[in-house]
Subunit: 356 residues, 2 copies
């Protein structure tokens, strides 16, 4: 069923729209007092992410405030390695931690694709959100990229430099191949199940692919992402599910990323959007790319910088407005309101003027 | 006076060499036990950096172990803002901290180019190192880029995201212009004085320019670096002092960086060196770009990865081998030995084969 507002899906297919669709990475998150209230009610981030009803509640919170053009499943990329038995936890005030990281070869050898039953709570959340959305806007499902998941699985937590991972890429590429290949199979099944539960589009978050050399990026990040995109089940009507691939720090490799088979490529804020649209806009949609720190300034600055991005994207079809990374907690919600309003208004003007 | 081994200077001028010169960012540092001993003797990092004799001692330590083709002044980029009165300190186990950061407009308005007399200890260190080197290899002087200095001056310390700086770039670009312009004047005087004291080449470290948008990078980082390069005093013989500009994370903007006026451009490890040489090698020398984490593996892996970089650079003149960022403390010195030997041997073969 086509959502009432299908602007986001049309932009991903590079079809004409009357305004540029906008959604924001981490649009349901700590900058919203109502999110913090729900999280407090749940007791912890993980308890929240594992409760389908509460996931639906926080997923819809930003949509109640702002006329966003898409919702995104509230979840975490590390659900998949948790289902593999690595033992995920979030210490208060710290990042994620695995009790059983891939610190030795035996653990890597023992790694297998998990039963999707262990991730049932995520698919229940998708179905629950989908009901709550009632067809207003599309719902984006997502997963971490095989390499980005591998980063946390090997390191055991977040890291300044993911030194263990980079060392493995050079000294034991065979082990890293094995990890990302298993991750690719797991992510494919995970995303297929999200679509079966109601997701209208899918995004792969490759947060750490930008740490690699060009050739290691091809081997350990882009190749397994390409494998996922090629293996996803088609929709009921035989069409491909729309997909977005986002490698933070991948601005130097856009030639390769743009050809990976995704409907859209996410851009971080370091990429010149006008140049990227000129170079790749005829073959792939682009998503981005306002610096999230702009949202911590003031409504006038937000409006000016957001309008500059919309103008840089120009009138050709195939732009989804987003940030270049997730919203930061210090963002005043009033700045998000100014952003969404500006993107809609400025793009309406540009698209009207651009029409023959 | 031309050093006995002038391979490094020849490579910067894109003149033929018989082996690829190699030096390593942070080659004098914590991975060397003798460095840690000297630092302990000095009492603190800052005491070490302010003692010209001890600076000479640690600068020469890696040269005693490895046949490196250049020495680099042992110092810190934050000497310049310290001389501006910001009050630099290094807490044990933490990074740098300024007692009087640029947290309000009044402090920015009061900022001025410091008297170079306050930096006399650095120029004394250059002279002292130069005497100790006795003409064996060239000595590289350096400074932080105006933007990278501004990052620490505005934030007051290191930071995950330099949020204050990025906010200023959007909301108060006039203030950031003022800071980087004053920094550019200060750095020009600072580098001129290093050359007067004996530095044979100069490097600008732009560690944080890669955090910016393309247009903000041009305005706040590349433009002031270009100003410095254009303002440096020529050498006694009227020639320009050889210069290297290194923006970490600048791989997406190499077209602009390669044209900034420097003799050489530093590349981090995410850049495909063969592609960069093909595209920019005829107009500028390139320096880099082994991932420093490779040096934390084993001598065989180091040799294989270093050889791949030398082969990617090819036989055309104008490559200086280096890492894509500084040596990490966990580096075993034996791996550095394997690296230098590999670069020299493999490049000798390639350069012999490449000669008509």
């Amino acid at each position: 069923m086509t959502p009432a507002n299908d602007t986001f899906l049309r932009a991903l297919r590079r079809e004409p729209v009357t305004h540029t669709p906008v959604w924001l990475m981490r649009q349901a998150g700590r900058y919203l007092p109502e999110y913090n209230a729900t999280r407090a009610k749940a007791g912890s981030f993980l308890a929240l992410a594992q409760d389908p009803e509460l996931c639906a509640e926080v997923t819809l919170q930003p949509l109640a405030r702002f006329p966003l053009d898409a919702a995104i499943l509230f979840s975490d990329i590390l659900t998949v390695p948790d289902a593999m038995g690595l033992g995920l936890s979030f210490a208060t005030g710290e990042g994620p931690r695995f009790a059983r990281p891939l610190h030795d070869e035996a653990r890597v050898r023992a790694l297998t694709v998990p039963d999707m039953g262990a991730l049932r709570y995520v698919f229940d959340a998708v179905a629950c959100i989908k009901r709550a959305l009632a067809g207003r806007v599309p719902l984006i499902g997502f997963a971490g990229s095989p390499f980005t998941l591998a980063c946390y699985m090997i390191e055991g937590s977040g890291s300044d430099d993911f030194g263990r991972v980079r060392r493995m890429a050079y000294a034991r590429p065979d082990l890293l191949d094995r990890i990302v290949d298993i991750n690719a199979q797991a992510v494919t099944a995970y995303l297929d199940a999200q679509v079966a539960a109601g997701a209208d589009a899918l995004m792969l978050f490759d947060t750490w692919g930008g740490l690699l050399t060009r050739s290691a990026y091809e081997r350990f990040s882009l190749r397994p992402m390409r494998a996922i995109l090629g293996a996803l089940r088609p929709l009921h009507d035989g069409a491909r599910v729309p997909t977005i691939v986002f490698t933070k720090g991948g601005g130097g490799w856009l030639d390769a990323i743009a050809a990976c088979g995704a409907s859209a490529i996410g851009l971080d804020w370091t990429v010149d959007l006008a140049a990227a649209r000129a170079r790749f806009g005829a073959s792939v949609a682009l998503q981005g790319n306002l610096d999230p720190l702009v949202l911590t300034t003031d409504p006038e600055t937000v409006a000016r910088e957001a309008a500059a991005i919309v103008r840089a994207a120009g009138p050709e079809p195939g732009h989804v407005f987003n940030l270049g990374h997730g919203i930061v907690p210090a963002t005043p919600p009033a700045n998000v309101a100014a952003l969404v309003e500006t993107v809609h208004n400025v793009s309406r003007e540009i698209l009207r003027a651009g029409r023959p």
